[in-house]
């Protein structure tokens, strides 16, 4: 069973961290990014060198996380790509589905 940390943010994004990958990460870039002055400061390292929340999930959801995306981008660049932030955009998905149905092109799908 993979070890996963998951929490929601005020912007309705879901942050998912595959903690199994974090043990081998040397940079700990997510925690470093989050700890900078104007960032959320919601992550810390646990005894095994894996990120964990510094506060309760409901506080994170109420604005503890600033939705700055720095953890994900830095994890991608300097870490193991273990942290993903996803946002549901149902109307956009429907728009894309309808365009596909009509055979219209979207620039990034060319």
């Amino acid at each position: 069973m993979p070890e996963i940390m998951k929490f929601r943010t005020m912007g309705e994004a879901t942050v998912t961290v595959e903690l199994d990958k974090c043990g081998a990460c040397r940079s700990k870039a997510c925690v470093e990014a989050c700890s900078k002055p104007h960032m959320g400061n919601i992550l810390e390292l646990d005894g095994e060198g894996k990120p964990r929340l510094l506060m309760e999930k409901n506080k994170v959801k109420r604005g503890g996380c600033t939705d700055c995306l720095a953890c994900e981008l830095d994890c991608r660049l300097y870490g193991k790509g273990a942290l993903k932030i996803s946002l549901e955009m149902p109307y956009l998905e429907e728009h894309l589905r309808q365009l596909t149905e009509r055979g219209e092109k979207i620039v990034y799908r060319d």
Binding site: M10, A70, I106, V107
Partner: protein, 423 residues
């Protein structure tokens, strides 16, 4: 704009004790017949579409009997009125009209307060009445905290000589009720045009226009509106509906997106090149429009992401802009902003990484990014770290660039990489 259909607006009026004609909303011929039989002929049949001037556009008809009702329903249901598809009809009793008046409450940009507008000439374009017969239009500024008192409404309405005492009192009562709708549902505009005084002396709202403030839609789930960006008289597109969700429940900065040319038809007709467009600050956006349009480009959307929005909001806005069909480029310029531009950049970068996974976020259309203001150097550095600024399709500019520089840079880039057939 979060606008209600006539029948929905009338439901709100009824709650504020403003009388409306007996009627029923129907979606089929069978229901229309049943409604007409219950109300009794003649009936009015009104297309429920978001459009002013429905009468002139052929959306309102009188049905004298079953034959004419059948013909009207066939003409309207499933067809278009003013370019909008009719899915619902309002079948209503035909009023015996003695007089038509105009009643509205909206925001007055000069006083920054609500204002009651009344005219003894209703059923016509109020702007035209105000232009040709200004004495027939009266107004009363309303204190948003105090509300509209009955005596204030009467005092304003009595200035119209065309009403007798009873009519004046009834109109004043309707005005105070209308303010309750305006305030209670966070409206931008509530308008009854015409408000009918019948031969029997009754006062009824023959039409209703209710526009709810887009930013207040989330406060009124009971209205069943979808938070969407302002789209004028046409219904919001799916992309505008998605954009409307960005600020929902998240007060941190804002993202406003509207499609100017949703299908790119105008750009094509006028021979302009359609592009995606985003600025930080609307003033910057307008200045950039002044620079980019004369060069032959046409932004198919307007987007302002300011007030220090989160990176996540920038991410959502960028994905939406790039998802417009047929865009041939993208331009992003910040005004000299106090917002954290490194966060702004992160949102755009995440969007590009996801839209262009095969190239590590490097786009396939000419893109200009101008960052000016707080943390602008960090923003530029982030684009470099992620390898996006290395793309020949991308031009990054810093705090010394003007809107003119940005437009020219885009033009140069576009000319270098113009798609086949766009020469």
């Amino acid at each position: 704009m979060a606008r209600l259909l006539e029948y929905q607006g009338k439901e709100l009026l009824k709650k504020s004790k403003i009388k409306v004609p007996r009627g029923e909303v129907v979606e089929s011929m069978e229901r229309a017949v049943a409604a007409a039989l219950e109300i009794g002929f003649p009936v009015m049949v009104k297309a429920q579409v978001f459009r002013g001037g429905r009468g002139k556009a052929g959306g309102i008809h009188k049905a004298e009997d079953m034959t004419s009702l059948d013909k009207i329903c066939r003409t309207l249901l499933g067809n278009e009125v003013g370019g909008l598809k009719v899915e619902k009809l309002l079948v209503e009793e035909k009023l015996d009209i003695k007089k038509e008046v105009y009643l509205a409450i909206t925001g007055d940009p000069q006083t920054r307060k609500p204002v009651l507008i009344f005219s003894e000439t209703g059923g016509v374009d109020i702007e035209e009445v105000a232009r040709n017969n200004p004495e027939k239009v009266v107004s009363q500024t309303i204190d948003i905290l105090e509300g509209l008192y009955d005596y204030q409404a009467r005092n304003a309405i009595r200035k119209c000589p065309g009403l007798d005492g009873r009519e004046m009192v009834k109109c004043a009562e309707a005005a105070t009720g209308l303010f309750l709708v305006y305030r209670g549902y966070d409206c931008k505009l509530v308008e009854i045009n015409p408000m009918v005084i019948t031969t029997g002396g009754e006062l009824l709202a023959a039409d209703a226009r209710v526009d709810v403030d887009d930013d207040a839609v989330w406060r009124h789930p009971e209205l069943g509106l979808t938070a969407a960006e302002e789209a004028g008289d046409r219904p919001s597109t799916l992309l505008e509906m998605e954009a409307g969700c960005i600020d929902e429940g998240d007060h941190r900065g804002s993202a406003h997106f509207v499609q100017i040319d949703p299908d790119g038809a105008y750009a094509e007709e006028t021979g302009k090149i359609s592009i995606g467009f985003n600025t930080v600050g609307t003033g910057c956006g307008l200045t950039l429009l002044d620079e980019i349009v004369p060069l032959g480009y046409y932004p198919v959307n307007f987007c302002d992401t300011s007030g220090n929005p989160t990176s996540l909001k920038m991410y959502a806005a960028t994905r939406i802009i790039f998802s417009q069909p047929g865009i041939n480029g993208y331009i992003f310029v910040t005004g000299v902003a106090a917002q954290l531009l490194d966060n702004t950049a992160r949102g755009i970068i995440k969007a590009l990484l996801e839209l262009y996974p095969g190239t590590g976020g490097q786009p396939n259309i000419p893109c200009v990014f101008v960052f000016r203001g707080r943390s602008d150097e960090v923003a530029l550095q982030l684009f470099e770290e992620h390898g996006i600024s290395k793309s020949p399709m991308v031009k990054m500019m810093g705090r010394w660039a003007t809107e003119k520089d940005a437009a020219r840079a885009f033009d140069e880039l576009y000319r270098k990489f113009q798609p086949v057939g766009k020469e």
